[in-house]
Subunit: 345 residues, 2 copies
């Protein structure tokens, strides 16, 4: 059974997930995947629905039946979950150490039945449906008061951690607040308490004024390279209007988000030769859970601002980076933004 | 010129080092290196001393001359430095953002003239000399009051970030305290203030009692898999007697450290097929710099405890890990320790 364990010195949680089926001695160097092994072998390809756990949610053609073909997007429990909903939620100490049982949810969003299509190929409408599925799952999982955070992310390409080529994202619902999420909740709360302004709203304001790091500005979203970019061509995709919780966005906002993501994925693929990337949703935790108490004039609605982080994985996390939490980035965000801005799709 | 930039939301520093010569569009997928390209091409091979900047320190045969052959260990300025000592140290704001100029030091320790020998091949005596060189450089760099932290680390293998096969380590002296170092300084200080005991001394006590995660116990060092291991077979190599500052260790302690490291590197190579790894020294920052003020009854001498972190890189840092600071580890540290303990070298 898996466990969450806390390192008291590094103040970081770790999931020890020994049931994921990877025997450490057998850890293999991964080959770069360019296609599904074969339609017959791929658990996400249509016709193989019986080889996955029963679906949680699907967008389907009228008349098609659950766990059969006819779907356009399909959400499944992960077959090798890091955490499971069946585990009882228990918190206990082991001497100096802290443990939480491996309670949680681990789902896979199969984004398309087509085993060649990658996210950059999706139509804007299909992308909107994928984000709509994220929103649905978030709404549903947020009802369970035992979850402290629900993490939605996508790994594209072997070097970014994808173990199957067939386009998919993942959802992990956690019984603890992840370290980095806690940092963002605390930094934005402290900022609001000092200034009574949202930090990310202020950043949008400064980026629009400065222009140097802007990649795309559309009606509802702004895409820019962060001032302190950890990786070359790292992007943040941010709603221009203050909004703390992705589960509350409306369909029109999702349509604009889909348009912006389609634009930047197309740019990255063209200019950087289909780079491996991670796409990560940063959103408010379920309402009752947050790091520290806000003052009465601030609340998570006012101080947190959701965004998508899009990180091409062109550089490595080596010893220096692991030991310091400090990335060394060989490309200035201003150069990266100019390069992408000047590209013609 | 390079710059250190601070992300106010993630509370993390980043080095934007655009002079390292890597044009982002040219970032290549790295091939796994199994040898120096050729002795003629390798800047660290003997005979090519004129192709590196002048040496800072070397352990040499009697009568051999600086920047010529006859050395056994050689310390050089990095030819593609992330930070340079020539940059003026400046701190300034850019609107909401914070910047420090790219002031610092970036050195390379060429650990051996032999281009086939890797760290696991070194004799215990040679390893002791390598650690002695770390100590010398640390002592020297700590004299410069502008440095907030001096990071010593080694990347072994392409997947761990090594860009040259010839065995070497790196030293980066920084004008800011790295995020993760600040966390360790704060967590151990807070622990001491509550208990008047060193956290890592308490961890040693618990690990020796428990035995489940012990890999090696010798007279002066203990090697164990951390309770909250982020990676399979992650190891901590810790002096059993409290000691906060690696620059103050004596030669006998270095000899015991060399013995312990030789043992575990031999174990890892045999059992895990020469895994890529990072070796990271965690030591106290120069005395005057620390995160937050201690109370009068505590000090960095009492609350911090230096150690070496040895991290085989068998699993990936993907979207979930990058977004949460949360590793998913498929091997329990108890299994890893038992496996290594039961191995016969």
């Amino acid at each position: 059974m898996s466990e969450l364990r806390y390192d008291p010195m590094k103040k970081a949680w770790v999931i020890i997930a020994t049931e994921r089926g990877v025997r450490p001695v057998n850890v293999q160097k991964r080959e770069h995947l360019r296609s599904c092994a074969s339609e017959a072998a791929c658990p996400f390809c249509p016709g193989n629905e019986n080889r996955t756990p029963p679906e949680i949610l699907a967008i389907r053609d009228p008349g098609s039946r659950p766990n059969g073909p006819g779907w356009r997007i399909r959400v499944l429990p992960n077959k090798f979950p890091a955490l499971t909903i069946e585990s009882p939620l228990e918190r206990y100490g082991e001497g100096i150490y802290d443990v939480v049982s491996g309670f949680g949810a681990h789902e896979v969003v199969v984004e398309t039945p087509d085993n060649l299509e990658q996210m950059a190929d999706f139509s804007v409408g299909h992308l909107q449906d994928v984000f709509g599925v994220y929103r649905s799952r978030l709404r549903d999982l947020m009802k369970d008061q035992r979850f402290r955070y629900i993490m939605i992310f996508k790994n594209h390409g072997t070097e970014a951690g994808a173990s199957l080529f067939h386009s998919h994202s993942q959802i992990i619902a956690l019984p603890v607040t992840p370290n980095l999420v806690a940092v963002e909740l605390a930094s934005t709360r402290d900022y609001f308490q000092l200034k009574e302004r949202c930090m990310l709203c202020d950043i949008i304001h400064q980026e629009l004024e400065d222009q140097a790091r802007i990649v795309l500005v559309e009606e509802k979203f702004i895409v820019f390279t962060p001032f302190a970019s950890s990786f070359p061509y790292e992007l943040r995709v941010v709603p221009r209007r203050h909004s703390h919780d992705f589960s509350l966005v409306d369909d029109d906002t999702l349509a604009h988000l889909a348009f912006a993501i389609k634009e930047v994925l197309t740019l990255l693929r063209k200019e950087l030769d289909d780079p491996p990337f991670n796409l990560i949703l940063h959103t408010a935790p379920p309402f009752t859970h947050r790091a520290g108490k806000p003052y009465y004039w601030s609340s998570i609605e006012s101080d947190f601002h959701w965004y998508l982080e899009l990180v091409p994985r062109l550089t490595m996390i080596a010893g220096f980076e692991w030991g310091t939490g400090f990335q060394i980035n060989p490309t200035s965000p201003e150069d990266a933004a100019r390069f992408l801005r000047e590209s013609e799709i």
